[in-house]
Symmetry: C2
Subunit: 428 residues, 2 copies
């Protein structure tokens, strides 16, 4: 089923080719694609243009978790996520903490980095003195590129030569630090870096003995210095009770966090739960979840052992629970100005700055984590999860409205298992 | 803007509440939400039921990357992704390698783990002998839960007691290993673990001195033993040329990979690029990208330093490039049987098994990584990326069809920068 020029075909011809080659010309399959097209042609055309070879729109649920009290203001967070029970869990945790002071956040930094990675086979002292000599000239040459960013309060913060020959023969970096204000900044950073590389290698050809070979110039998605902390705190007595004791609940909660701090098998799932909350807001606001995920999980491994991103403690009868997350996100640029539902999300959030959005995302992550630990240390996660998932299972079995009502009533006080559900509805 | 009982409101009342409290009753904002509703009420109701508090459908582009030759068969991969240039890059890389033998894959394991995390304050020897004595009984007690999974060829593979007191006082685990065949298996694993915990603690109350306290029971999203390798290989002379030399290209390619192996700042971005390809297929097939992301990035840090997931070498004039990815995904269960476009994706992929889907995802990741490194070591990434992004920028500026044609022609042989685009179109 090789094909040349697929991207040149019209959307309809692309679909026809797929139907013929892979789907036995199934009209049902065709109908599935077409039923998701928007009637508004201009709107559909906008969405078709976001990426290449688009055939249809993939629906993810656009949902709302209200009652997020963050630094004194209450938000309704837009969440885009396909997993059942995440939005309900976020909403419940948000409500719980809104009655106990809400989420408090702190921006611990906004610096992002990018690198020109290169090799140099000459004397390192010559390289260092060359860089010292031409550093200002390079910065001046690329200055026009940062005029607009500077007007917005950002730009290039620093530029340094780094010797990495301990890691790889002849390997050096020019490292630039950036503040990209309200944009995620990938295009700005990459454009600057490519120009720096051009100027650097041109100047080096004249003024430096030995060969400079630029391997690549690219931003880093690792941003441990673009960091936000979100926390919640209350008296231990304000926590839920476990076997009648809030003290017991607090201690078990902290123990669950300790386990995620010391055990990678647990930490991965623990942090995955945090990211359920973070990514739902990342998607709803048109940010890039692959960049956020890579950043956050690399940060979780910074000690040398992959570990929990959240922490908890009880000090003087006060319970505190917090998370530190590197988050490089934007509220301008990328899809933020183009995707109508992303624009809606940002309006709903009162048009936040990038740092405010970091604060909201971290709060969503902490809320999610609180809800998960709360379930795990009390009734387990299956009870709540399967209750939320029951509707999906009923749809899977093509249950009638009557069967749905019967099943929901039947499982009110029982553990939900798919096999049992099939049995009571007499389905195979 | 606190609210009680938000989840109990109808969809319309939820929207009205948001409009009133956060959006100045804007009819424009309301129209944005409504324009994405599907005319087919049953279909819309299905999507509304996936998660809680849904208001609308968030469109992500559903696109196709054809010409993926994987283990001798050519697939058209469904990709759901909002980032421009990813689908084009995957398609180009797939085509390139389809003419050089295609992707070869290998399943290196399918084992997943889950744990009952507990504390025990008694003598460890007593605990060990208790577990040895009751191990078989526990397995027998929970056996009914795995009847269906066993019919499909999976089930519980092992159960062991693990001493983790070196990490945390009194901390132990019951570790279970699972094969969940074509399902991701989260519900199955969690159900089994919660039952194991119940039986274990009940038996321990009678037969063991000292206190057992179950902290939590949950699957691990970390699956280093559920692993797939994808590779491509060709003679060096079959590679593109750099300064007229394929040899030079190969060496620079390998050097770029080495840098990602030794430098975390580079590795994070490098792996993010791999995940652009993987996640697009994860989303299109209804799998959970947060689980996949956490798994993969923790795996990237397993040596103690966060590092590249892909590797490359030149041996005897042969270039080989490969990636190892832990991927716990399913082709049954979850959304796979419910989301119509997910069902379409699986049909398009010829209804793969979970291991076949792992092979496709790993190939998509490797293709993406090849395309990224290829761009980085040749013309840089901005040229291609901005070309693909130009359409989005034109939409952002509300460009007319004439202006679009003019701009596309203007930038044919120039670097695209947003500021320049605004200038030539005389927009602010």
């Amino acid at each position: 089923m090789r094909i040349n020029g697929f991207s040149k075909l019209s959307k309809k011809d692309k679909i026809n080719w797929l139907l013929e080659k892979y789907l036995n010309n199934s009209t049902d399959a065709q109908a599935v694609l077409l039923q998701y097209w928007n009637d508004n042609e201009a709107l559909q055309s906008l969405h078709d243009g976001f990426v290449e070879n688009t055939l249809s729109n993939f629906y993810l649920p656009f949902a709302i978790a209200p009652n997020f009290l963050i630094d004194g203001k209450t938000y309704a967070l837009p969440m885009v996520i396909e997993e059942s029970s995440v939005v309900a869990a976020a909403s419940n945790a948000a409500k719980f903490w809104s009655e106990r002071g809400g989420f408090k956040t702190q921006i611990l930094g906004t610096t992002k980095k990018g690198h020109v990675h290169f090799t140099y086979d000459g004397n390192i002292r010559n390289l260092l003195s060359f860089f010292r000599k031409y550093r200002a000239k390079i910065l001046k040459n690329i200055d026009p590129l940062q005029q607009n960013m500077r007007k917005r309060g950002g730009g290039i913060k620093d530029i340094n030569l780094i010797d990495r020959t301990d890691k790889l023969d002849n390997y050096y970096q020019i490292e630039l630090k950036f503040d990209t204000v309200d944009s995620m900044g990938a295009n700005f950073i990459n454009t600057v870096l490519e120009e720096v590389a051009d100027h650097f290698s041109l100047l080096a050809q004249d003024a430096l003995e030995g060969n400079i070979d630029i391997v690549m110039s690219i931003l880093s998605n690792y941003t441990p210095e673009c960091l936000v902390r979100a926390s919640v705190s209350c008296r231990v007595s304000e926590l839920p009770k476990l076997d009648g004791s809030a003290e017991k609940y607090a201690q078990k909660f902290v123990r669950a966090i300790r386990i995620a701090e010391v055990e990678t098998y647990r930490a991965v799932t623990h942090n995955k739960g945090i990211m359920n909350g973070v990514d739902a807001v990342v998607l709803a606001t048109g940010n890039d979840f692959r960049a956020v995920e890579a950043d956050v999980h690399a940060y979780a491994s910074k000690s040398g052992t992959y570990s929990s991103l959240s922490h908890a403690e009880i000090v003087d009868d006060r319970f505190t629970f917090w998370v530190d997350l590197p988050l490089s996100v934007g509220t301008v640029g990328g899809l933020t100005g183009i995707h109508p539902l992303v624009k809606f999300s940002l309006q709903l959030l009162q048009n936040p700055s990038a740092t405010q959005l970091m604060q909201m995302m971290a709060s969503a992550g902490l809320a999610q984590n609180f809800a998960a630990i709360n379930s795990l240390i009390t009734h387990g996660i299956q009870q709540g999860h399967m209750k939320m998932h029951l509707n999906n299972l009923l749809n899977l079995l093509d249950a009638t409205p009557e069967e749905k009502a019967f099943a929901i009533d039947y499982f009110k006080d029982k553990k939900i298992r798919f096999d049992d559900l099939k049995k009571i509805l007499e389905k195979n």
